[in-house]
Each structure stands twice: as structure tokens, then as C-alpha cells.
């Protein structure tokens, strides 16, 4: 039972991550490979505040948002001047730089040793330590992320994002300052990812840089693409499939040395297959990248 709850919490956290990436990749057509770094940024901000300065988890979430927005500007202001695949490469570069900061700025992040004893989330002095309680918090965050994305995409603002995805020059010709729209939506997406990171840090109570590598970024990209970029339930389905599928391997009884490799083989194969045969994903209506 504990195990099933753990898996469900992971599904919820990854849903937040893939919903936030889908806002960028699916709805605006900007594929970012830096979401694991933004996820890590939230995790580290909140973990450091609560362990070093003893602030409440709530303050951790708020500061993580501020940090995520500021860093998202550092990433998006230069990268968004680039197109399609060059944007991917630039965000890839930022992912590597941020990972290097997590890994090498030992005075603050403890480097590869990571941060231990991160407090579990608490609201009004009441600490949530049961798995069921944590699952409720994770679900609330996932629902919140969904509400934010649905509100954005069904507003006039969201229409401009879709216009940017379909034909940016045309959107600009209509007088839309597309660059500003893109920077804003990147900041929103970064905030949601950072919050997923906060929740992750306070849920597992131990973080190290290995959770925030570029491989993790690729995993989130796979979730969005497998589920269906730019669709309502796609990110949720993608996150569920890609979290649950490797877990079934464990039940089948694959040796654990192979399991980690094998799950990445699955992610990679799914990416190739989806890109070649079904770029709209399982439930999507929009052919990604066409």
C-alpha cells in the first residue's frame, strides 16, 4: 500500500512537471531541455531555506518561485532569440550549467553529497508526514498546475501562444509582441516546475544533483510527447505511463542493475517511435513540431 501511494505521489509530481513543460512545448511550440534544472532549482531553494535558516515550507515555496522566475529570465531572455532546434540547444547548455552549479558549488549545495534531513511539508504548524497526506498535497499541486494552464490556454493570452506556435511572424504582423509573451510563459512554466521541485524535496527529504541531470529533462520531454503535446490530458497520461511502465518491470523481476538502464531504453525508444509514427502522442490533436 505504501508503495502504491509512493508511485501515485511520483505520478502527481511528474504531472506538474510535464504540464509545466507542455505549456511551453505543446501550447507555445518551444521545447526546453532545461526543466530538470528548474525542477532542481525549486528543490534546492526550498531545501536550503528550510534546513539552513529554519524557515517554514511555505516560505520555501514562495522563495523558490522568486528564484525560478529570476533564473528563468536568465535562461529565456537570450535563448528565446533563437528558433526551434537552436532554442533546444541553448536550453540544453543552460541545463548543463545549472547542473554544474548544483554539483560544484559545494559550499552551498554540498555537491554530490546532497542535502539531508529536509523537513516534511507543514501547514499552520501541522506537519504532513503520512503518505496519504503527502499524496493529497501532491494532487492539490497537480490540480493547481492544471487549473493555471487551462486558464492561460483558454484566455486571449493563450490564443496568442497558439498563434506563436503556428506562425510567429504572422502573430508579430498582427502587432503582438511575441517575445514578451514567450518570456512570460517561460516564467510561468519555470515557476510550476520549481514548485514540483519543492514538493519533491520535502517529500523525499533528501536531494542530490543526480536527480536533476539532463536525462531527467529528456524524461519530462518524453512524457509530454508520449502523452500528447498541447492537449489537455496528454501530460497527465504521459507522466502516468512513463512512471508506471518501468515499475511493472520491477514486478516482472528484472535485476535492479539493468532496471535503471532498461527504463531509459524505454524512454528513448518511445521518443523515436512517437516522433516517427505519431508526433501527436497518445491523446493529442496537434502534430508536434510540424
Amino acid at each position: 500500500m505504501e508503495y502504491i501511494l509512493h508511485i501515485l505521489v511520483l505520478v502527481a509530481i511528474y504531472t506538474v512537471l510535464s504540464v509545466s513543460l507542455d505549456l511551453l512545448a505543446g501550447h507555445t511550440g518551444l521545447l526546453s531541455l532545461s526543466h530538470a534544472a528548474l525542477f532542481g532549482l525549486g528543490a534546492y531553494s526550498s531545501a536550503l531555506l528550510t534546513t539552513r535558516f529554519g524557515t517554514s515550507v511555505f516560505v520555501g515555496f514562495l522563495v523558490a518561485m522568486v528564484v525560478a522566475v529570476l533564473i528563468s529570465f536568465c535562461i529565456s531572455l537570450p535563448s528565446l532569440r533563437l528558433q526551434d532546434d537552436y532554442f533546444v540547444i541553448a536550453t540544453f547548455g543552460f541545463q548543463m550549467i545549472l547542473f554544474s552549479i548544483f554539483n560544484n558549488w559545494i559550499a552551498v549545495t554540498h555537491g554530490p553529497m546532497g542535502i539531508t534531513n529536509i523537513p516534511q511539508p507543514s501547514i499552520f504548524g501541522w506537519t504532513i508526514s503520512s503518505r496519504v497526506g503527502l499524496l493529497v498535497v501532491a494532487l492539490l499541486l497537480a490540480i493547481f498546475a492544471y487549473v493555471v494552464v487551462i486558464l492561460i490556454t483558454s484566455s486571449p493570452f493563450g490564443r496568442v501562444l497558439r498563434a506563436i506556435r503556428e506562425d510567429e511572424i504572422f502573430a508579430r504582423a498582427l502587432g503582438k509582441r511575441t517575445y514578451r509573451f514567450k518570456v512570460t510563459v517561460f516564467a510561468v512554466s519555470a515557476t510550476l516546475s520549481a514548485w514540483a521541485g519543492c514538493l519533491y524535496a520535502h517529500y523525499v527529504t533528501y536531494i542530490d544533483p543526480a536527480s536533476f541531470t539532463v536525462m531527467e529533462s529528456i524524461l519530462v520531454v518524453s512524457m509530454v510527447i508520449v502523452g500528447g503535446a498541447g492537449s489537455r490530458w496528454g501530460p497527465f497520461i504521459g507522466a502516468s505511463v512513463l512512471v508506471l511502465l518501468p515499475e511493472t518491470l520491477r514486478i516482472v523481476g528484472l535485476p535492479s542493475t539493468f532496471a535503471a538502464n532498461f527504463r531509459q531504453v524505454i524512454y528513448g525508444t518511445l521518443l523515436v517511435v512517437m516522433m516517427m509514427f505519431r508526433p501527436r502522442g497518445i491523446v493529442g490533436k496537434y502534430d508536434f513540431g510540424q
Binding site: 528558433q83 540547444i89 547548455g93 548543463m96 550549467i97 518524453s222 524512454y267 513540431g289
Partner: protein, 292 residues
């Protein structure tokens, strides 16, 4: 210290030039970031490792066979990745993601086959290198430097003087125009992918002589090749080589001022700087699709 760093920069730059040339060659005709090139590099290193561990061949044969075996892998890669993407007229972004997926599969297959621990074909004896102007360089490192020069010059001559080289440049410049004048584009792309992959295997085989062999070696090396290509300008091989030595130099000289752990971050900052300020690179003319 400075002299040793310069020698290290020369060795690193030579490796990046070898990776970058193969990468840029393929990039010019397919026009997307084919991350699978990192796989060719790692495969070349593992083939060299396997041959020297489980056969009696001497290192010269290892270095001849590693690129050939990797080139055969290039044929498979073309059949299952490049050809389907071309048939579907996939956009560069879609192709990039597909290649990223293929890279992920390959890297993990390597690590399942050989394990995650670092392999080496140097043996246990630590040899002090030759003394050149007060800095040390070992024989394998010298081989890498010489090979880089030979490959860069060889490719430049091959592209400008031979018929296939001219066809490759034609397809790189304008695929439809090349087809109109009767060049079989598919065949040219196929041969470029095979030769480029073989060059990646050669780079990996050479790197195996000097460095630790791990399944993840491909991605980092490939990124250095990508940065070299972007910094140098992807339109000319001379530019790529120049970019490679520039990256090697930057990466090694920053050690004078900051801890070596930050080397790679500096390289990525340089890459982002180039993408934004001078996307055509040092030497490139902006002929193709621009980054903006």
C-alpha cells in the same frame, strides 16, 4: 604550468576537431542536430577497447578497425533513423528529438553490455610523456594531435577535389537544386552519414587510447563538438577545426583563474554567447537556415 595547459588545450582541441569534423560533415547535409554522433564516438571507443582486450591485434589494427566497424553501425543508423526522418520530411526539431531518443537507447545499451565502470586500454603502467618545451605529452596524445591534423586536411581536400566531395557540398548548399542537376541526394546523404559516423568512431578509438571509457562519454564529447561547430561556423571544415581548438584552449586556460570543475560550464557559456551574438560562427557565411 601555462605550457602544460597549452599542450592540454592542443590535445583536447584535437579530439574536439575529430568529433566536430564528423558531426559537421553530417550536419551540413541533414541540417539537424544528430545527437547520435555521440553514440558513434562512444561506440568507437568501446570497439577499440573490445578489440584490444579480447584479440591479439596491435593498436594500429585497432585504430583501423574501430572506424570501419563504427561506419557499419552508421549504415544501420541511416536505415533506422536518418532515412525514415528524411522520408517523412521531418522538421529539424522533430529530428533532433528522435536522435536524442536514439542516443538514450544506445548509451544505455552500451552500459548494459559493458557496465558503468570506467574502462581503459592504457594498461596499468603510467608512462611519463615526452618533454616538449617544458611540458609533457604522451605517445597516444601525440597520435591524437597528428590524426586530427591529417583528418582535417584530408577531409578538406576530399570535399574540394573529389566528385563525391563536390556532390556533398552541392547537397549541403541546396538539396533540391542538387537533385535537379542529377545528383542522387539520398545516396550522397547515405555516404556522408557513413563516413561521418566512421570519423566519429575514429575519434572515439583515439580517445580510448588516452582517456577513460565510460558509456556517457559520448554526450559530453559530442557537446564539445557541437560547440566547436557553432563557434567555428558550420559552413567550413576549417572553421570547425578552428572552433575545436578555440574550445580546447578556452576550456584549459580558464583553469588559471577558476577551479577545473567549472571548465565545461565556461564552454557552454561560450556556446550560448555565440548562438546569440554570432550564430554563423567565427568563419561562417550565413548561407543556410539561421539560428534566429
Amino acid at each position: 604550468m601555462v605550457r602544460q595547459l597549452l599542450i592540454n588545450a592542443l590535445i583536447a582541441g584535437s579530439l574536439y576537431a575529430l568529433i566536430g569534423i564528423g558531426f559537421a560533415l553530417i550536419f551540413r547535409v541533414v541540417k539537424f542536430f544528430h545527437f547520435t554522433h555521440g553514440l558513434s564516438y562512444a561506440l568507437g571507443a568501446y570497439v577499440a577497447f573490445g578489440l584490444s582486450r579480447w584479440s591479439n591485434l596491435n593498436l594500429v589494427w585497432v585504430l583501423i578497425l574501430a572506424p570501419i566497424i563504427t561506419a557499419v553501425f552508421g549504415v544501420i543508423l541511416y536505415a533506422i533513423i536518418f532515412q525514415p526522418l528524411r522520408n517523412r520530411r521531418a522538421t529539424p526539431l522533430v529530428s533532433l528529438i528522435a536522435c536524442l531518443g536514439a542516443y538514450l537507447v544506445g548509451q544505455n545499451l552500451l552500459s548494459m553490455a559493458f557496465g558503468d565502470d570506467a574502462k581503459s586500454i592504457r594498461g596499468d603502467v603510467v608512462v611519463l610523456g615526452m618533454n616538449v618545451l617544458g611540458a609533457y605529452i604522451t605517445l597516444p596524445q601525440l597520435v591524437i594531435v597528428v590524426f586530427a591534423i591529417v583528418v582535417v586536411l584530408g577531409c578538406a581536400v576530399w570535399l574540394s577535389k573529389t566528385e563525391l566531395g563536390t556532390q556533398i557540398r552541392a547537397v549541403a548548399n541546396d538539396p533540391s537544386l542538387a537533385t535537379i542537376i542529377g545528383i542522387a541526394s539520398d545516396r550522397v546523404v547515405f555516404l556522408t552519414v557513413v563516413v561521418g559516423t566512421g570519423l566519429g568512431g575514429l575519434a572515439g578509438g583515439l580517445a580510448a587510447l588516452d582517456r577513460a571509457i565510460v558509456p556517457t562519454m559520448g554526450l559530453n564529447a559530442l557537446l564539445m563538438g557541437v560547440v566547436a561547430t557553432i563557434a567555428g561556423g558550420k559552413e567550413s571544415l576549417g572553421g570547425v577545426a578552428f572552433g575545436a581548438y578555440f574550445v580546447g584552449l578556452a576550456q584549459n586556460m580558464v583553469i588559471l583563474w577558476i577551479p577545473s570543475a567549472w571548465q565545461d560550464s565556461i564552454v557552454f557559456l561560450i556556446m550560448i554567447g555565440f548562438l546569440i551574438l554570432r550564430p554563423q560562427g567565427f568563419m561562417g557565411r550565413d548561407t543556410g537556415r539561421s539560428a534566429f
